[in-house]
Amino acid sequence: MVLVYAESPKGKFKKSAFEAVTYGHKTAQVLGTQCVALTLGDAENAGQLGQYGASKVVSVGDAALNSFDSQVHAAVIANAAAAVGASVVVISHSSSGKALIGRLAARMDAGSVSAAKAVPTNDGAFKVKTNVFSGKAIAEYQINSDNKVISLMGNAIQPEVTGGDVAVEALTVEVPASRVTIKEVKTVEGTVPLPEAELVVSAGRGMKGPENWGIIEELATTLGATTACSRPVADTGWRPHHEHVGQTGVAVSPNLYIAAGISGAIQHLAGVNSSKIIVVINKDPEAPFFKAADYGVVGDLFEVVPRLNQALKDYNANN
């Protein structure tokens, strides 16, 4: 049995939860078994996880699980896996997932693969691919243990509707007490967090100063994209640290990454090379980023970015 933990922050599923269930369903098919989805704490309309291939949904509704503590959540997920007889656990490679994967692997004494980018194969050996060297290469891991834990990279596969809603069963497992006291949670509302974003507009030192970011924010708003930046931009405080993309920042895997005024240093590319399509806007035709780009615009970003914004607005108005 494959157990998928479908995260429901503030009681609601995000796309990453549907991706994880789709992945769990496909993994179950590879193994010739079934996929059960697990929700913790509040989870509105959990039966919809059946649409993505879960044969049933089990839910541990304890309100204590509405705030995240990796120690508590890992224990509950492992307890749930034991209760439903699952040896394979799939989670999202989200902030929570990154805290959970190691705990779950240690707790279940399982071989694990972090940030998987493709559905496992199982021709005698169980193998899963993931990016390594910050996206400069792909490694195929082989898991030799019966217990297996996999976290799924955001946007690596798309959710697929294969059926209808299924029944949600309440599951009673031990929920240990948390040893962490959460005092404050600060989230930026209304924008998709960078690691999950499908559209990203990113800018670098070519912007000259933080006061010029208006054109980047406008472009991002028109597209419904999340904003990002290069490291020196975050280091000098022009933009917040959580926008820093690259080898020593956030790794992104959007469908579209637009980079304006970023030279494309190897450490920056390391964070963006899982993007499906890259657009580079730079006044220097020799900027290394053009070698990694699908579409390039050689020009002054202060003219090109507003022009692109207008073109997108026109497009939106006609579609």
Partner: protein, 246 residues
């Protein structure tokens, strides 16, 4: 405070990545190795700052072969008091975590620090594993920490924002950008590092449950399509019709 900092050795950020032995082995020839930046810049420095303020000791631990001693000595040069190297090939995350946890359990540290990920295998797994094996809380991706007696107030990255929490020692913490500022070792530090104790201990028994069977390089990008900067309608059209991303 008795503090442990886990450090790993990674290829330098500009290293050329290639493979040998029918794509089963990372080709180390000509590659410069460094201390994993998250371990060095944030985890180690924050531990040193705590020691400087409240007293105690900072121990560095690495699981790896003798060749890793240069990276360990750099940590000592930056200011750690002593180091332990578990003499084994670090082939899987759980193997490494079991080695670190065995040492930490025997020594009883107040805090175990490590970087949020290594820049080579990018797994973010070892911290959670060590915490689980020690049955301790885990603060992942910490960007700030203030310590008051045995309680720490930590800020950590969560989806689209951050969270502030109180947590009592002992615990495990993975360090992200913002937790501390990089320190460059000075001449005195480098000289002193040569005399600081570096204990080499054998590994405990543990099996590699997940191993890398092979590598591949990402498919080469086709050449960039240049768009007239005056004609952004054309770019929008291509993004919609050709790339199908909008």
């Amino acid at each position: 405070m008795k503090l442990l900092v886990c450090v790993s050795k990674t290829p330098e950020t500009t290293a050329k990545i290639s493979f040998s032995g029918d794509n089963t082995q990372f080709n180390e020839a000509g590659v410069n190795f460094i201390m994993n930046p998250y371990d060095e810049w944030y985890a180690l420095v924050r531990a040193l700052e705590l020691k400087e303020k409240a007293g105690g000791s900072v121990t560095i631990i690495n699981v790896g072969p003798k060749a890793n001693d240069t990276v360990i000595r750099k940590g000592l040069a930056i200011g750690a008091d002593n180091a332990v190297r578990i003499d084994a090939a670090p082939k899987s995350s759980l193997f490494v975590a079991k080695q670190i946890a065995a040492h930490a359990k025997a020594e009883g540290y107040d805090m175990v620090f490590l970087g949020k990920e290594t820049i080579d295998y990018n797994g973010s797994e070892v911290g959670g594993m060590v915490a689980e094996l020690l049955d301790q809380p885990y603060v992942s991706f910490a960007t700030g920490m203030e310590v008051n007696g045995t309680t720490a107030t930590v800020t950590r990255e969560i989806e689209g924002g951050e969270e502030v929490a109180d947590i009592d020692t002992p615990f495990v913490l993975s360090a992200s950008k913002g937790l501390a500022e990089q320190r460059i070792p000075n001449m005195r530090g480098i000289m002193m590092a040569k005399r600081k104790p570096l204990k080499v201990v054998p590994a405990i028994d543990a099996v590699d449950l997940a191993v890398i069977a092979g590598y591949e390089l990402p498919p080469a990008k086709s050449a960039v399509k240049l768009i007239d900067p005056e004609n952004m309608d054309e770019l929008v059209r291509l993004l919609h019709e050709e790339a199908k991303v909008i």
